[in-house]
Amino acid sequence: MPELLALTGNEAVAHAMRQINPDVVAVYPITPQTSMMQKFADFKADGLVDCELVLVESEHSAMSATVGSQAAGARSMTATAACGLALMWEILGIASAYRLPIVMPVVNRDLSGPINIQGDHSDTMGARDCGWIHLFSENAQEAYENTIQAIRIAEHHNVLTPAMVCLDGFIISHGVENVTIYDDAAVQKFIGEYNPAYMLLDAAKPMTLGALDFSDFYFEHKVKQLDGINASPQIILDVGKEFKQTFDGEECYDFFELYQMEDAEYAVVSMGSTAATARMVVDELRDKGIKAGALKLRVYRPFPSAEIAQALSKLKGLIVMDRAIAYGGMGGPVNIDIRCAMYGINTTPMTLNYIYGLGGKPIEPEHILSAFDELLYAVKTGKPKRAIGYLNLKEDYDPATV
């Protein structure tokens, strides 16, 4: 029977891991992920999981251990955040290149420095081109469900691509919500037994992994790697559909979720917990007679370019919310991706980019409302006050003063 429990996002994901019961889990603490692995270690101590818990000495080792055990043929997981993910960076690319379907929850936190332990998306944005699937979660329920679905997506033999399940540091990881934990047996049946595409411990089939690869084949191997992530969109949709049917779930199982978009003239794109705030703002604007809508992006990699372009093409104005700065680039990473997706369609809306929430800076409805004010003005006059804005900054950033 499904159980409704009061859980933090970290605990909810730990429950997903308990139900997945991987063969190997590499553990290393980092705020705000620590309480997730702590909860999972409790499950292990209580005999609720029978996995091998490997206590490693760094995140570089955590991902290395996970790669090693997954390549050996064991379903393997780890979890991290922020600078921990940064330290894993080298091995992230190895995991995806070896086509190892590792699933890793990442509790999104800013990168140092200055040192800050709160939430933003700078960490996983640094790993966006590492060949991993990135699923973003709006709340604890989605983080729990995305973790379960990620196993099926990553392990699908057409995909065989590692996946990150992203949840906002503190807002989701430490906030307590009502979370439906589905029946253990039903979840285990949904996930199924791990069937590795290859395993180094198969003595009957000796093989070498990670050999030197020069200019005669490296490029070919990297291009072949595209097969997995390029096959993943259909599998993400299939798995989402099956999950919804199996568990009668009510979360987002698509690439993105549309809110009030049927007749919308203005819309806001966001990822993670901010999506809920964005919907409140849309309601407020609708009450005032403004045709506003919202798009919550769940699948950030592979980026659903064609679908996004179609969903946004009829708008007059668009706000793209970015919880990270792409230094030296055009605003934030989501903005860059959305603008690329919209290139070539002849009805591109007026697009404004807003950076927000770095280092846990609060994002409230009034901030998104102020962005809509600027958008309405920009659409009316044809001239945006600024193309890239910074919400809830103590003073407006003025590029002209540089």
Partner: protein
């Protein structure tokens, strides 16, 4: 298998850069890398086997009697270690010669 592998397009490559056949490095030609190549002179050789011990690429050819007979140019990378280690005097039994391009 090796022929298939070396002629393969990216589509035919094994998943994840796997090498599915143990010991197939022998079939990978690395002998084109060097600028110099070692040349063996059997008349000067005292069969001390130093070159065979030191060669990092197992490129010193040895017959059934255990005698050095020459160089495996398919795998020799031209590192010169064999020639440096060869003890014969005044002339070494292995000397390095610039390869023709």
């Amino acid at each position: 298998m090796m022929k298939k592998y070396f002629d393969a397009n990216y589509k035919d490559l094994p998943l994840g850069g796997l090498i599915e056949e143990a010991g197939n490095a022998e079939n990978y030609e690395t002998g084109t890398w060097g600028t110099f190549k070692p040349v063996f002179n059997a008349e000067l050789c005292i069969q001390c086997m130093f070159c065979w011990v030191y060669c990092p690429d197992s490129s010193i050819l040895v017959n059934e009697k255990g005698e050095v007979t020459g160089i495996d140019y398919v795998h020799c990378k031209g590192c010169e270690i064999c020639s440096v280690e060869c003890p014969t005097k005044p002339e070494k039994a292995i000397i390095m010669v610039k390869k023709e391009t």
